[in-house]
Symmetry: C3
Subunit: 250 residues, 3 copies
């Protein structure tokens, strides 16, 4: 039998680990942590750092999650089942996420954020405090969600990203902005005001440049690229993909 908890891992008394939880070399699990069944915690991870900014509740990692190496999670956040992270992510306190969240390597979730189900972030995404992010959202590399309209101040207001929105690489969303459902923010945009549902915005400051339905796939120009749910299904559950297909079948 393979030993699931590496002999160099440090598991503090009080931490609750379910069945079949694997913990890699040199990982540290602090006392105020609940890890459900069938999770994998990579090497050098540190989970459950204490903070006076939390509500005292434990860090909860629901079943079947995979936290890759060098990741840092504070206490008082909770994640639904099937969480997947890249390497070296940082997640602060008071964040609540639905199931199947993906957090790319070196992403930085600043605390007091919420995520729906099946949202995916790629590498180096910065999620400022108080961001509210829906389900099936995509945040591509180096997307930055801000929260202070007059920095520095105590006048923080998070951004809101609605379901199925996609924000391309290196875009910045300014404080309090709402990015509408099924919209697309082009790469390297600076979004200073709300984005209507289904719109494509780009530039600095970002302006509406198209409707998503007018953008076609490069390798199949007869097919609209949006809603992306019509052609991109990798990793989503079968029942959800089926519902997406039915939605557009007459």
């Amino acid at each position: 039998m393979t030993r699931l908890i590496h002999e160099t891992a440090i598991i503090e008394s009080g931490a609750k680990l379910g069945h079949n939880v694997e913990v890699g070399p040199y990982a540290i699990i602090h006392r105020n942590v609940v890890i459900e069944d069938d999770c994998k915690i990579g090497s050098y991870c540190e989970l459950g750092i204490e903070t006076s900014l939390g509500d005292g509740s434990p860090l909860i990692i629901a079943k079947n999650s995979n936290i890759r190496s060098r990741s840092t999670f504070y206490e008082s956040s909770s994640f639904g089942e099937n969480l997947v992270t890249g390497h070296s992510v940082i997640v602060r306190e008071n964040t609540k996420a639905g199931k199947s969240l993906q957090i790319g390597s070196m992403s930085d979730i600043q605390g007091d954020c919420s995520f729906g189900d099946h949202t995916r972030m790629q590498s180096n995404v910065f999620v400022g405090k108080m961001s509210q992010i829906g389900s099936f959202v995509w945040l591509f590399p180096y997307v930055i969600l801000t929260n202070d309209p007059t920095p520095p101040s105590n006048d923080l207001i998070g951004v809101t990203i609605e379901d199925f929105a996609a924000i391309a690489a290196a875009s910045v969303i300014l404080p309090g902005v709402k990015v509408g459902a099924h919209s697309l923010v082009a790469a390297h945009a600076c979004v200073t005001k709300d984005v209507p549902s289904g719109a494509v915005v780009g530039g600095t400051p970002a302006k509406i440049i198209a409707e998503t339905k007018d953008i076609h796939l490069r390798n199949d120009p007869s097919q609209s690229a949006y809603p992306w749910t019509q052609h991109f299904h990798r990793g989503y559950p079968d029942d959800i993909v089926k519902s997406w297909k039915n939605q557009f079948t007459k």
Copy 2:
């Protein structure tokens, strides 16, 4: 009694640790390091990496500092008291900083830089070699300070950021540019020439778009948001905050 130096930490002979210094699991303190009293060094930190680019002086961490986990410091830099870092910061040689410096997670200080007192960086700030940064400066997430006007070259010239300036998220400051005291660089700007004191600049290339005094707080439009010292005091010493208040009282 709690053991302050974790049993897995590696402390090389020659390292000088003051009273009440806490060192976390798997941290490494090399020989050419001075850590003063009441400091906390997080898990997986590595302090005092040798380099031929330094002057041979030790890394000095003054009293009451808190270096969070996974941070990497070279020898031959020095930091005044109350240094606070996020996780995974990287700091190279020949940097001199005043007191109460804050370095956000994953920030990268490239060496040969100087910082005044009470300057604060948020996550993922990049400080190129030879940057000169004053006191009470704010650098927000993903700010980039460059130094090579004709890359690649040996013709480096650092940027200068004067006291109380605030540079918002994802802005780039080009080599040799001086950002004036009490100025504000808007998010996602590319600053190609000097910024006058008290000006607000934005865009690519950045242009003057307002005076800071004309910007008001979102949640209290009767109050100017700048100078920010009039309403934002979190974490600054009482005597300094008092002096800020007196400055604007008739």
Copy 3:
């Protein structure tokens, strides 16, 4: 005799280490790794992570390489001699690189990429899957190479960066774009179409703003700054520098 493999390092059975290989504290070398002679692997590195996305071949690190601390490499990539990395780099599977590659701290190489010889990346460069990068290329801090024209999709197309091109800080290259030989992308540009050889482009979207030959060194205005091979030689082999000099001598 100094022990080259630190006693806390974990070397899995099957890993092949050459002569005079140094492995730092808390490093992990998995089984499917070949490290040639005279390499140095820093503290906390993890090399050879298994992945179903690879072809099963080992991670190969050729002789005289220096991988700095906290770096993460997957199996099924190979690097020529004299690889140098900063701290905390992440390199996925199926990447093939020539000799003397430099990867800056916190850079993220996403897999299925190719690099020629003597290419240098600075900190926090993001290289999307399927990027093809030539020899003597420079990628400065926070450069982002993308690959999905209609995100999210399965319609990926990598960028191509030709020999001697230099991409300045915080620029984004859009999917499928070719950046020509000896060209220069200015800082904070968003490059949406091919860049001709020898051109300087800047802005969002990037436009041609000059020819590289028209840019002069700040500290010696009589000398053109490009081709940079005429004045910048640090770290390149003598025979190559000599060939560069001869190229421009009548």
